[in-house]
């Protein structure tokens, strides 16, 4: 179970390959993954870049905790979260969640749990740079 915070651009496919390379071959029949990527638009506005602030110690603890919860709830061989912070540009991956299991149902369900829990409660805050200046996403109606 691995949760990583990255201050620079990461390649989700390399992250997946790195975990896969460490797994015993033939034991997992399924890997489900989700990659969230920065858009260049939000609620009708152009978005040029984004700054992603976080509460480092709490975020790490939170991500580790949801990995543990997923491993208790589903029959997983491994799971992974990678999340960016800092300055992000459109097209950059923001988040990767992945789960490996013997069968697809557990992998899909755990992968979805990780991204939904993270999105709902992990302490990250986005500040977008739009045509009209900077704005916090949590202050933006319809975010």
């Amino acid at each position: 179970m691995t949760a990583l915070l990255r201050g620079g651009v990461f390649d989700p496919w390399q992250e997946l390959a790195r975990i896969e390379a460490g797994l015993v071959k033939g034991k997992h029949g399924a890997c489900a993954s989700f990659v969230g990527t920065m858009r260049d638009f939000n609620v009708g506005d152009n978005v040029h870049s984004m700054s992603l602030e976080h509460y480092p110690e709490m975020t790490q603890q939170f991500l580790d905790n949801i990995c543990t919860q997923a491993a208790r709830r589903w029959n997983l061989i491994d799971c992974l979260i990678v999340h960016r912070y800092g300055e992000i540009n459109p097209g950059d991956p923001i988040v990767l969640t992945a789960a490996w299991s013997a069968h697809r149902a557990d992998a899909f369900d755990a992968c979805r749990f990780l991204i939904e829990e993270l999105k709902a409660r992990a302490p990250f805050w986005k500040k977008e740079l739009t045509d009209s200046g900077e704005r916090w996403v949590h202050d933006t109606p319809g975010k």
């Binding site: 969230g36 990527t37 920065m38 858009r39 602030e53 709490m58 993270l118 409660r121 916090w136 949590h138």
Partner: protein, 79 residues
């Protein structure tokens, strides 16, 4: 008792700093810590808080050495 207090995102901009230390000489709650640390500024609705990096409530009691954090609704992940 002495406590570390942290503010994040728009809250730190509103308050004007990201962290401070407060001294409390009687039993207190997270809400009391807000008032001491901010000089009684109005707390925005939807403000979230944590004690020692775990989500907490404004009426939770605090202990010596705690780290208290205040922050707006979170917006991680993506759409």
């Amino acid at each position: 008792m002495q406590l570390k207090v942290k503010f994040f995102a728009s809250l730190s901009e509103q308050i004007g700093f990201t962290d401070t230390t407060v001294d409390v000489d009687k039993p207190a709650t997270v809400s009391d810590v807000w008032n001491l640390a901010t000089g009684g500024q109005t707390m925005p609705v939807n403000t979230l808080c944590a004690i020692n990096m775990a989500y907490a409530r404004l009426d939770d009691s605090i202990s010596n050495g705690d780290e208290i954090a205040f922050f707006p609704p979170v917006t991680g992940g993506n759409a």
